[in-house]
Symmetry: C2
Subunit: 320 residues, 2 copies
């Protein structure tokens, strides 16, 4: 659901309430809906709360023009980059990514999230893996779902843009990737993306996950008004250390970012010494994924694996 | 490239020329570009033909405002359905497709091509397979590439909308699928899609590939002004019979449809007794596929296969 649109249609006294409270609220919470209008809607359609309205809005829309179901419910997917971003993405210097170090077959993965100038947080990760190659979006596998949950807990469930240090998938690891990250072609192109994000978005925070992301943002050095936070990558071997690091920055980020409307965040939340995959993973929102992506993709961990460099195996969770 | 936009910007005498002729033409073929303007562009940028202009338009756009590169080159992918189509697609009666007969895991696949009211041809196929599940678009594997080439040869390379008899993948074949195709839920929903296509598009031809498609369109019976052509499915066992069937309708379809601008079609083309995969496959255009789809996908045959019902293996052509 397009919550910014929804909240813009509510009476001021309702705009700071959680989406759960809005679901339970009477239709009179909508700007312009009087108690008599609400009563007529209830008599005609048995719709008395916003939650029921959302389920039936498409059917009664002709008689209820206070909320546009197109704007409220769609797009429920990410249509892809606008023209300006397409220009920049199409400029990627493919040859600056050596085939010896990067998997080129499935192409680059550029982003996930808002390209429309509404991002308050920029997340920088490392490189895309197989789920990312299939979705053509960054951070959609297990690591991405752990990061997504962290963002939700500090108060951001949509106003982010996620990019990686490398748009291509790394074939291995090690010092060579520090060198490649600093190489002219890769660095200059990555920084054109960082610059465009900072220029077009009211960024409050830049959150780097992993050493490569930290170095990429440090080298760049043009964070502007945004505060830079350096967190350990969720896949780092010592999870206890990772989570203590995530905990140590939690309150700072929580205080720094304006939360997304309708989101209930968790002040003072602290991770345990290990991830609990039943609660520490968040579903990658459909609004971040291409049209037609199955519901189970982007939830419950990574769904695909690499067989050889030139094969990707996609399995339904629990599938044979 | 957005050819309808390009041709709309050309002087009338150039509007019926092929795109290859336009590439070779001088800049004066553009409406409003005088010979002196063309001369200045050539002196300043060494750009004297449209082909060279296309390569450099983005860089000189600030000084050459006769063609908008955003409109000319983007989107170079299919962003997905608009709101009205999303409403209809989200209404699919999932439970009308029995899990015993259809693969449900990867979700339905609804369409490929134009949803914007510019389709002159509706293509009806059978059901989506693995490449279709990955692209979330219909007819993108080998069968789709054979159909794509047939459409190009009769004169249509973009003004089509492709849908299937079944939005879900069939687990087997046989008479049961005739019964399922006629079952209330599946039939009624499919016909809502057919009706919306006929209502919104200036259809000239409806081309059915395979017996299930033919029956689906026949049962529906509301083709309106469009002529219905029933062709054998490209995967039918007797290829010689299939191609003689494709040949027998070729000229009729060729005469019936208005060709897409800038496309050179082949009057009186005839297939051999077997497919020649070097010339009879057409690349599925990037404009039909989601953002980020690799170049090799939708070309050179089917790129993925099903391991078990719950796995899809995607391989780069020739990959290990």
């Amino acid at each position: 659901m397009n919550l910014p649109y929804l909240y813009s249609k509510l009476k001021p006294s309702y705009r700071l309430r959680s989406i759960d409270e809005i679901y339970a609220a009477p239709l009179t919470c909508i700007n312009g809906v009087s108690s008599s209008t609400a009563r007529n809607i209830e008599l005609a359609y048995r719709i008395s709360t916003m939650g029921v309205l959302f389920k039936n809005l498409r059917n009664i829309y002709a008689h209820f023009n206070y909320l546009d179901p197109c704007k409220l419910f769609y797009p429920s997917f990410d249509p892809g980059p606008n023209c300006g971003w397409q220009f920049l993405f199409s400029d990627i210097p493919h040859d600056s990514f050596p085939a010896a170090n990067f998997r080129k077959e499935f192409g680059p993965v550029f982003y996930r999230g808002r390209l429309d100038g509404t991002a308050r947080v920029m997340v920088v990760g490392q490189d895309p893996s197989t789920d990312e190659a299939l979705a053509k979006r960054a951070m959609v596998g297990q690591a991405g779902q752990l990061v997504q949950k962290y963002l939700e807990r500090v108060g951001i469930d949509r106003s982010y843009i996620i990019v990686n240090t490398f748009a291509y998938s790394m074939k291995s690891s090690g010092a060579i990737y520090d060198t490649l990250s600093e190489s002219a072609g890769i660095r200059a192109y990555r920084e054109r993306i960082f610059d465009k994000i900072v220029t077009e978005n009211p960024l409050q925070a830049i959150i780097c996950f992993g050493a490569l992301a930290r170095k990429a943002v440090y080298m760049w050095g043009r964070a502007g008004a945004a505060t830079v936070y350096n967190l350990t990558h969720p896949t780092a071997p010592d999870t206890a250390a990772t989570l203590s690091d995530w905990n140590s920055d939690f309150d700072n980020i929580y205080e720094r970012v304006t939360p997304d409307v309708g989101l209930v965040r968790t002040r003072g939340f602290r991770y345990d010494i290990d991830f609990h995959y039943d609660v520490d993973l968040a579903k990658i929102p459909a609004r971040d994924l291409p049209f037609g992506t199955p519901e189970w993709f982007g939830t419950g961990g990574t769904k695909s694996k690499r067989d050889t460099d030139r094969k990707i195996i996609l399995s339904v969770d629990g599938g044979g």
